[in-house]
């Protein structure tokens, strides 16, 4: 929806008053947990981000302020159903950006007074950590006052049953690389949805080389038709939450499918690699 109503000769006829029903909004973890303290080796949460009854919202970005590293797990509550938005906890720096470079969600996440987001933080810093999460969104207020907005809300509702943002990390979580041995790690797509891969993020102690292979077809993501088996530099394939690497075209992995990560240290020594694949889950059945 455009904010200004323009005439062909360049005049501005008006400011679209329907924009008054929209409000840019930043939702934080509920008070008094606006700043979440996560003690050493403790998982804190779930903590909710709750909207009041003023209307639905679309969450479009995540940002944070932190004093140390954590892993994050997101869940969505919809009525009595709580469903995860990821297969395992992911490194915070692959999911939450900074205030001026927030992480753009692969798809907007619809929330309202009946659907809320839960977040869980797991300390991996070795010292007590404080995290302040901020989710950027826009709210649609006064929904009932405007039939077209009501239709928009319905559409958002229905879309949510079919598709929602989702993140995958390797089945075993963090990948610990030692020496310069090549490791093979898998990511198993859930049996309840297809996964459309859109973004690649990783955080590591040191440089690594990697290849991503579709285990159904044996095709690599890089130079697939040539049957390439070479690993590529990890920093050319993975961004982080501030600047995720966005695939030029999304790649669909079907329900139950496995993705193989061939990964190798580029330097000697131990290297902890946290990989996060961002995209959207496309449900293979209606939620209700």
């Amino acid at each position: 929806m455009e904010t200004l109503i323009n005439a062909p000769d360049g005049r501005v006829i008006g400011v679209n008053k329907r924009m008054l029903d929209f409000l840019p909004f930043t939702i934080l973890t509920n008070a008094p947990e606006t700043s979440v303290t996560v003690p050493v080796n403790i998982t804190k949460g779930p903590i909710s981000l709750t909207f009041s009854g003023e209307g639905p919202a679309q969450i479009v970005s995540f940002a944070k302020q932190q004093t140390g590293d954590t892993k994050v797990f997101l869940r969505m509550q919809e009525g009595r159903i709580i469903r995860p938005l990821m297969n395992g906890a992911v490194h915070i720096n692959t999911l939450f950006g900074r205030g001026n470079t927030p992480y753009p969600l692969p798809e907007a996440l619809y929330v309202d007074e009946l659907r809320r987001l839960f977040v869980e933080f797991q300390n991996i810093a070795g010292v007590s950590v404080a995290v302040r999460m901020a989710a950027g969104c826009f709210r649609a207020t006064s929904v009932e006052a405007d039939p077209t907005l009501l239709m928009s809300r319905k559409r958002q509702d229905f879309q949510q049953f079919l598709s929602f943002p989702y993140w995958y990390t390797p089945d075993e979580g963090v990948i610990v690389l030692t020496g310069t041995t090549e490791f093979e790690k898998t990511i198993t797509i859930s049996g309840s949805h297809h996964f459309q891969l859109m973004q690649l993020m990783a955080v590591s102690d040191a440089a690594f080389d990697v290849n991503i292979i579709d285990m159904n077809t044996g095709e690599a993501l890089i130079q697939a038709p040539l049957g390439n088996t070479h690993l590529v530099a990890g920093e050319t394939l993975f961004g982080d939450a501030n600047y995720p690497y966005c695939l030029m075209t999304p790649r669909l992995f079907q329900t139950g499918q496995k993705i193989l990560l061939k990964i190798k240290n580029r330097v000697a020594g131990t290297n902890n690699v946290y990989v996060t694949l961002g995209g959207r889950a496309i449900a293979d059945r209606m939620w209700r």
């Binding site: 455009e2 000769d9 005049r11 409000l23 709750t50 970005s61 302020q65 826009f138």
Partner: protein, 324 residues
């Protein structure tokens, strides 16, 4: 635009059956405008200790070699603000105020911090609305240095200069004139605006206070970016006083929601603040020391009523000049 056009610069020419550059677009050129050199000798010297520096002006000349400019002169469409500081950008610490003199237009309600509106070549300080700086107009600028030591700066207006008189064919001249005339209509109603607090913010350690931000009674304000510069971290909330709508459900912080002009926080949707409404900023120091905070909301002022597209009978998307 013709569906067969490659873009607005390369279009399909029916007569020749070829793709040809749109001649009129060749006379819109990238441009950096430095302020009038008769004011100071190339570099803007700022005295220290909060002394307002000399006023300087950008003057847009009326150049038209052959007179075929349809009285449009050579306007500059300003799209971003750039600055070079004698030390470095991150230590640039001065307030800036911009005014258009001829039309008595204020671009901000109060002086704002330079790093909340000016950027660098890598990350320019982008205007929320391009501003058509017409020939024979002047934009006045004044810096006030906040640090004790003096420094020298080079500020630039960056954008596109239109040369309507330079086109070879009458068709191109007419096309260019048409675009400029439409922008001239628009500039009468819409221009970039930066909103900051009415009073400067200086908090004692861990102190909390409220500050008013008044966009004014004269026009609707449409906010798009939020920026801040401060001497320490802080938490804040923003509330529209009349409707009691808050833009957060708690206190956000500088670190998790804001940036400076180079990478500002972009609002997820344009925020329309109707004329006469006011915003209240509540800030609290988190640094444990005296904290000077410069908070700026970048947007545009629109002199048009609140309306809706059905009432106005217009397709808003098809006619958006900024998309051309």
């Amino acid at each position: 635009m013709d569906r067969r056009a490659i873009d607005k610069y390369i279009r399909f020419d029916k007569a020749s059956g070829k793709f040809l550059p749109d001649e009129s677009r060749r006379y819109i050129l990238p441009f950096h405008a430095f302020f009038d050199l008769s004011d100071v000798a190339g570099v803007y010297a700022l005295p220290g200790s909060a002394t307002p520096a000399q006023l300087v002006c950008w003057k847009q000349p009326y150049s038209s070699i052959n007179g075929m400019d349809a009285n449009l002169g050579t306007p500059l469409q300003i799209k971003s603000l750039l600055i070079s500081d004698s030390t470095n950008y991150d230590t640039a610490d001065y307030l800036v105020e911009l005014n258009e003199l001829g039309e008595s237009r204020k671009f901000m309600n109060k002086p704002v911090h330079v790093r909340t509106i000016f950027g660098t070549a890598k990350y320019p300080g982008t205007l929320c609305e391009p501003y058509m700086f017409s020939s024979q107009h002047q934009i006045q600028m004044q810096f006030t240095n906040l640090s004790v030591t003096g420094r020298s700066v080079r500020p630039y207006l960056s954008g596109a200069q239109y040369y309507p008189w330079a086109a070879q064919s009458a068709k191109s001249r007419d096309a260019l004139a048409s675009v400029i005339k439409r922008w001239n209509m628009r500039r009468g109603q819409v221009w970039p605006f930066w909103l900051t607090t009415e009073e400067p913010i200086s908090l004692a350690a861990n102190a909390e206070a409220n500050f008013e931000m008044l966009p004014g009674q004269d026009a609707q304000f449409i906010a798009r970016f939020m920026t801040a510069v401060s001497t320490g971290n802080f938490e804040y909330s923003l509330l529209e006083v009349k409707t009691q709508q808050s833009l957060t459900n708690g206190r956000a912080t500088f670190t998790n929601t804001l940036g400076d002009a180079r990478l500002p926080k972009r609002l997820s949707k344009d925020y329309v603040v109707p004329a006469g409404y006011r915003l209240r900023l509540t800030v609290k120091d988190l640094s444990g020391a005296t904290n000077n905070i410069y908070f700026t909301i970048a947007g545009k002022k629109v002199y048009a009523p609140l309306n809706d597209s059905a009432e106005a009978g217009c397709d808003t998307r098809a006619l958006d000049l900024t998309q051309e």
